[in-house]
Symmetry: C2
Subunit: 1004 residues, 2 copies
């Protein structure tokens, strides 16, 4: 079903023929189309066939050129049959006679960019006997490689629910295609590392060239990091820690957007395998989160990448590359170019990676909290002073060309590290993880609007592109919900760390002091209008603190100095902030039990008012995750959500915000007689038929000049009147007319795509990524409820919601209902059509995480537990089957599964769940290779394999695993070259070549 | 048949219905589709109809965005029926019952960019009775306006040959759409002139603001120029002389090329009529040549525009605008951006405008020869020194960013005049016409390759885009042919001028002296290889002279000083140059009687060799025009052309160069064993299988690395070997391997599109512009033969060629043979299809000129003669008809024509040819308006008209018209406000509202 093939099948009853086409990519032969034709009639059939390729493009014609100038391109075409100046075709024709039930098949094979030598070789190869077999064998070998990629990221499962199994396969594949996968597990190639260092910081590479050369050609990441520690160069340490030997990644995003052209490059120009990844910041880290569940030892690298590419003012550049990162430039020629920062991705993506680190490698963050190893991205954006943000919150960032140019000049000299921020002495500015995490929190808190959320004033929308126009006057409760969870996590880390004080830079300490003081000296402010003044007073204090901090750190001279803060201070600060945040969150509970997602703020001399927007799905997902809601509250919220306008019954799922009918063209841009009457200027101009500002139509309706695309245009037109006869009237009525304009168009509360768009995140459309985020949030709420000892009744309420949301996601929908084959994830379902855009969705990452949960896997404190409450009983096999999996040597194995079992892998270790019997874990191994109680100190090299049968060796209960599991989990992929002997049979769960068999109680 | 409508008609026999659709553009209602359905069966028919518009695009979606992102755009669509997120349609359906022969018709009308007021007004209008009539009336009024545009440029004719009449209509329309037409004849709007001065030179406008304001709102160009003379400001004079009040122009060129997006803008953003023109240099001047035949008084403006936008080094910028001109910038982002200069357009287009000025306004050039009024375009291209051109003739121009930026800064300060060159004192550098013409000639002559032609070394191909890759090693005989004609014309002008000496700048005088000395001190050099050394010696002298001149004038300090040269010196210089040129031309006669068009030169230490390329049509056109060939030689050449591989029998016309089969992919890039054996480097690398330079295929064939796109890539690869083990071998064999490469690929003689392209100017394609250039050249040869007293036999040979070439152009071809309706001109006819691209061809200009000749019109020395030798007898009417024409007031009239007559206009003056009887001219007038023997001193204002019948008043013979006809011809359009009394009845031919009737002898 999967593999590198697409299949199409149809039966033509009139012709009495079944047609079957499949498309594959062959490494050696190029694009292959297999055709099969079978006589399904009750008589013999004779057929004339014409098949082949049309419109052969000349070499070197780019996509854009072909799109725009296809007729011109035609003039250059020559197909060597010989067709000149026209769209050439290669067609073959023939006659076939098929007896009843007989079939015929053939291949059409085509390749591009072949030179003369290759063509000659192909001609000879094609002429030799057995070419069809060679083509098919090459496709099979490619398919096997693809299976291996999926298997190496735990994408192969075997259960009775085939749609779920294949959906999981697809999710795994697409997640890998976005974020990439490690090329050789935890093995690092010395040469690739050297090349990487050369491009990131050639000076570091040069300093350690001899040492690097002396490294083995291939070594485990763990051994690399030990070596790095021994060398003692902080930059080498940072770059090595950041190094991710990923392959199979492509630039992220939906290819229908203009900035998302991409290809997956696995080989360089010389045909050599190459390692690379690149993605939009807002996408790549989420796919890495799912990847980290299969490769937990790499989470440190992801965190380093994250931290090193964040800015001194608390944001992040647009795009992440294997070597460094990129920010967007001002480009007046490009309509899509824009500068600015998004915000909440940063908080939640960072937090989720931190949580993975903590769950899989407990304690691993502690040394980083105080280790001054991280750098900053020197993004040349300069957020303006607080007063400027208030004045025009949509135009808030200046581009510092000199900073930009200086950074690029440094890149030319030393590599991508040239983009890092320098301190006053010209050295790289460094910080520990605590400071990094604090800066993110403080930058958000400096935009805290009490009662409203976090002010979005950095020229880019937050996650939800549906509301892309909200930036400016919008305040995000979503961000506040995530900030709450983030701060609480930080609180817990600090508490558990045993650290008493941490070093931070003087400007950050000062920023912290000012923000803390602002929160201390103000009472929590509610959402009511009476509090507008207090609201503004607190925001003024916070915003001014932020501006002062930025003013310091935007100048190298202001970045100097360091001081310490105690963890006690920090924890007290967090507690104080949460008092304010929780007050605002509580105030944003709607009467229907949902929570507000985004609000609009309006600044006036009297203060700042907050208006609520419509209910949105995103806010429910975020508030469920924020840690504030109890189990019953969570279940109530989910009930309310089901009853809300966000529920779309025909798809049994949720839209992002209520669908609605937008006003028609003639119902817009209508100025009331009353408003006109109140303006002497408009009255006078209308009377004399001067249409520069407003005009009256034949039916008497009054409209603003349609040339005003926004209030700035109107303002310019009013300013132009100043010089004419209407000068004094125009000056007098300026703000009155601007107010009328805003009342007519409500630009301040214009949410963007959600008011103009009908696909993707548009009106009436289900955006599946968010639905799967909801599913994950419910899963977390469910686990939280279990942990907090909630009643069985409320746990079951949450579990029922989980099941219903999963059902809505549609793995078991009919193709007619889903709109496509439901084993593929799709981006969205518009109101008027089936699912759109296969694979192009962050949904895959969410579903990979919840799929592990559905298999009963719970990882916390470095311990894997099997918690089978939501293991789906219908997935236990009704007949014997087998699990195909890829072991740590990259070898493919098949494991027989009996009736009542199901199989999957965890870090490539096969796990078999059994229905019924007592809960328990049985760990088995291959007897020939491992002496139980102690692995050989040097194991077999990668690619060795054995077909020896597995035998059961030990069993244990589902609880009480040893607490030191970092090593066990982490070593999964790294132990191909050698492995310390495990101290207990239970370690075997995550050791190489072992098979774990887990008993699951019979269905509740 | 024409007008602003496109019509499609078909009969569906199965349905028994005739369908007729026509598309029109209505000013008031937008796009109109008229549908008609007629029952052509022999019974009643009932029909269900569904008709309307599909895929309505939202406002503001650009062409490129729709092309690339149509699916994304769909997501934003909302059609107010309401369809959301999909391609909306407005469809109406209905049932019709049509009796036999009955028909039904309806309109579909659509408009874009309507605001609410306009929609309301339209809704009311549509609801009112008679809307269909109003729409049709609006279309009719638009059609009438279009007819007027065509009529005002002499596009309306009435003969028995309707296809020729409508082809002429189309030619006129398309010529106007390219070059534009005067908006109100010779009338100049004071306000538009003021706006123009403000944008070209705000200082000039400011200096004369009061005087400008005092001008009448509208005045004749002639009166404007008198006023300008009186003011006495040389810049005002220049700008006023350059001023062309054109409308209806668009950027030139084929819209399938990426740089040619255009629209014809007749109104500005406020809906006000606007005057504008813009075009590529190489296109706009040719269309102006045809325009000048209807508006001869504007030829001076065209010449000023031409001269003022040429450079100090003798070239011209890429694009001409109403205000100034534009040069191309270096833009690494744009694959199509390129800097450089083309060459021979400049010579022949300038020459043809000069010839028109001389023929229509004899003596008008004389004052300009010595008047230092012209300026120079400060194009920031810097052609390198001569030695550099020799070294790499494809990379010869540097872009001087500082000069560019300074010019643009001056433009910001004062307007488009800021792009003019300054002298050492910062004042505008000025020159008289003699100096201007000399610079063009000298710049070409400094690249004269004896025996070969003019070296093309300024990074752009000459006219014939087919050979676009020839620039570099190519030398153009075509340019030399035109330079010959140009110099001879200059010689004649100087001789007839009565001027003894002219002032020129010191650098130009020095340039002249050096070039003259080079020609004097060398004998004419033939084309044989033995002369390679002499050839190089002369080119060295010429090229060095050019380089020294450029070195002077590229620096402001070097531009200073002036001196005089005598016209005797100049004429002697020209005679001496022609001795060399004619020797080279004679040597380029092929054995088959054709002449070479382009050659290839190769520089070696021993000299410069010249190799001939294949025969090409362009060279025959140019040599026919160059003035060297006698009538018999011309006729012989045309015979040879007919017998050559350039003749394409199926279309009875000529291709640009012989069609041929290009080698197949596997026949290219083959290195001989012998060549490899001669290189120790290649032998060694091949032996060890090192494929960086060459590789051997499975069949033993040897190929260069396909990554080498040209020799530079190979050279880089060889250089890279220098650092390796092959270092010494690579250094030793470098030039040997490069020679092998050049032998394999023959890049030096690669002609470009003519070897890769199958449409437009590609292989096997007829490029109609060139065929019509041939027709015009034959017409000129024919007239030359008559003038030189050639024998009747040879004149008739030329006339037969004229007729055959005209026949091949295809006005009377069947639509099947032509590939479209033959009354439309098309760009080209590929080998495999009918004509392509209606109207997009410079052919229209050539055909307008020859069409006048076909009507017997000959203008020379300011005299119109009727020379009826090639008047086509079949065009005389067989039944009475009428000529519609537009008079000088813009009024449409109809003139009755009897059997045996035909009608057309000359400068809007109707002319009627009569078959049979004695040769003669009868001039008639409208009796009510003009007292014969003297026009009223103030005539009626524009737009007045009369329906009074014309009566005959006088007659004269076809010869012996008075010699002072400048005024007569020139005043045609200018005399709307007032006119001096003509001194003789014969002046009436070109006076307003007169009708000329010309007798033509019976068919020979």
């Amino acid at each position: 079903m999967y593999g590198n093939r697409l299949v199409f099948e149809e039966i033509n009853r009139d012709l009495g023929l079944m047609f079957r086409y499949s498309w594959s990519n062959s490494d050696a032969y190029g694009f292959v189309r297999q055709a099969e034709m079978r006589n399904v009639s009750d008589a013999a059939v004779s057929i004339e066939i014409l098949d082949g390729i049309r419109n052969v493009l000349p070499s070197g014609v780019g996509r854009r050129f072909q799109l725009e100038f296809s007729t011109l391109v035609d003039g250059y075409k020559r197909t060597e049959t010989d067709i000149r100046g026209r769209r050439g075709a290669y067609l073959v024709s023939g006659s076939l006679a098929l007896a009843q039930g007989e079939s015929a098949d053939w291949l059409v094979v085509a390749e591009v960019e072949q030179d003369a030598s290759r063509v000659r070789a192909l001609m000879r190869d094609v002429a030799a006997p057995g070419i069809k077999d060679r083509v098919l064998a090459d496709i099979a070998s490619g398919t096997a490689r693809l299976m291996r990629i999926v298997g190496e990221t735990d994408g192969l499962q075997a259960t009775a629910d085939e749609p779920s199994v294949w959906r999981h396969f697809a999710n795994t594949l697409f997640n890998a295609m976005r974020g990439g996968i490690p090329d050789h597990g935890y093995l690092v190639s010395r040469d690739d590392l050297g090349a990487y260092l050369g491009k990131t910081n050639s000076a570091v590479r040069a300093r350690h060239a001899a040492l690097l050369d002396a490294l083995p050609a291939s070594l485990r990441r763990e051994d690399l990091m030990k070596w790095v520690q021994a060398v003692g160069d902080v930059d080498l340490e940072r770059l090595a820690a950041e190094y991710l030997p990923l392959s199979f990644s492509r630039r992220h995003g939906d290819p229908s957007w203009p900035w998302n052209s991409f290809s997956i490059r696995l080989k360089d120009d010389q045909g050599q395998p190459m390692l690379n990844y690149r993605g939009n910041w807002r996408d790549i880290f989420q796919n890495w989160e799912a990847l980290a569940l299969s490769y937990p030892d790499f989470v440190e690298a992801m965190l380093f990448k994250f931290a090193d590419s964040s800015t001194v003012d608390g944001y992040n550049p647009y795009r992440v590359l294997r070597e460094g990162y990129e920010w967007e430039l001002l480009d007046v020629e490009d309509d899509w170019a824009n500068i600015g920062y998004g915000g909440d991705h940063q908080v939640i993506y960072l937090l989720r990676l931190l949580e993975v680190a903590d769950r899989y490698r407990p304690g691993s963050l502690v040394p980083l909290l105080t280790r001054k190893v991280f750098t900053f991205a020197d993004v040349p954006y300069r957020i303006r002073p607080y007063e400027d943000l208030l004045r025009d919150p949509r135009d808030t960032i200046d581009f510092d060309q000199a900073v930009n140019d200086a950074a690029l000049e440094r890149v030319r000299r030393i590599g991508s590290d040239g983009k890092a921020v320098l301190d006053a002495d010209g050295a790289l500015l460094r910080a520990n993880l605590t400071e990094k995490l604090l800066i993110v929190a403080l930058s958000k808190l400096s935009n805290f609007v009490p009662g409203g959320g976090i002010w979005m004033n950095t020229q880019r929308p937050e996650w939800n592109d549906a509301n892309n126009a909200l930036v400016g006057n919008g305040v995000s409760m979503v961000t506040l919900y995530y900030v709450r969870r983030y701060l609480w996590f930080l609180h817990g880390q600090l508490k558990a760390s045993g650290v008493d004080e941490v070093e931070v830079s003087v400007p950050v300490a000062e920023f912290l002091r000012a923000v803390a003081s602002a929160f201390e000296s103000h009472l929590p402010v509610g959402k009511d209008a009476g509090a507008d003044g207090e609201r503004k007073a607190l925001l003024d204090a916070l915003g001014t603190a932020g501006a002062q901090y930025r003013a310091s750190v935007y100048e190298p001279a202001g970045r100097g100095g360091h001081t310490t803060v105690t963890t006690t201070q920090l924890r007290a600060f967090i507690s104080d902030v949460l008092r304010h945040a929780d007050h605002t969150i509580a105030g944003n509970r709607r009467e229907d039990g949902l929570y507000h997602s985004y609000n609009i703020m309006q600044v006036s001399p009297g203060g700042i008012s907050v208006e609520h927007l419509t209910e949105m799905l995103e806010g429910q997902v975020a508030v469920l995750s924020c840690g504030l809601l109890g189990a019953t509250e969570a279940a109530d919220l989910l009930d309310a959500l089901r009853a809300s306008a966000l529920y779309r019954a025909d798809q049994n799922s949720y839209i992002l915000y209520p669908d609605r009918d937008l006003p028609h063209f003639l119902d817009k841009n209508i100025v009331s007689e009353e408003d006109v009457g109140g303006s002497a200027l408009l009255t006078a101009m209308l009377e004399r038929g001067d249409a520069r500002i407003v005009s009256r139509d034949v039916d008497g309706g009054i409209h603003f000049n349609p040339a005003f695309r926004n209030a700035n245009y109107l303002d310019e037109a009013l300013a132009a009147l100043d010089e004419g006869d209407d000068g004094s009237l125009a000056a007098e009525d300026r703000s009155r007319v601007l107010n009328i304009y805003e009342n007519v168009f409500e630009h301040a509360s214009f949410t963007g795509r959600s008011e103009t768009f009908y696909k993707y995140e548009g009106l009436g459309s289900i955006y599946w990524h968010m639905v799967s985020k909801l599913l994950l949030a419910v899963d977390e709420a469910r686990l939280g409820a279990l942990q907090s000892g909630a009643s069985e009744a409320v746990v079951e309420r949450l579990e029922r919601h989980y099941a219903k949301i999963r059902e809505g996601i549609g793995v078991h929908k009919s193709p007619a209902e889903y709109g496509a084959v439901p084993t593929d994830p799709y981006s969205h379902t518009p109101s008027f059509a089936g699912v759109q855009q296969p694979g192009m969705t962050g949904q895959v990452k969410q579903d990979l995480i919840t799929r592990a949960s559905e298999m009963g896997v719970v990882v916390k404190g470095g311990i894997i537990r099997f918690e089978p409450r939501i293991v789906r009983q219908q997935e236990f096999l009704e007949t014997p089957a087998s699990l195909t999996y890829v072991d740590l040597d990259g070898e493919v194995h098949t494991l027989a599964l009996e009736t009542g079992a199901m199989g999957f892998t965890l870090c490539q270790v096969p796990v078999v769940l059994h229905r019924g019997g007592a809960a328990g874990i049985v760990v088995s191994r291959r007897t020939w290779r491992i002496t139980f109680g102690g692995l050989p100190s040097t194991g077999p090299t990668r690619r060795q394999s054995s077909s020896a049968p597995a035998t059961f060796l030990a069993s244990t209960s589902t609880s009480g695993l040893p607490t030191d599991s970092r090593h066990r989990l982490g070593c999964g992929h790294a132990c191909t070259a050698g492995h310390p002997a495990p101290s207990s049979p239970r370690r075997g769960l995550i050791s190489r070549n072992l098979v774990a068999v887990v008993g699951v109680p019979a269905s509740r």
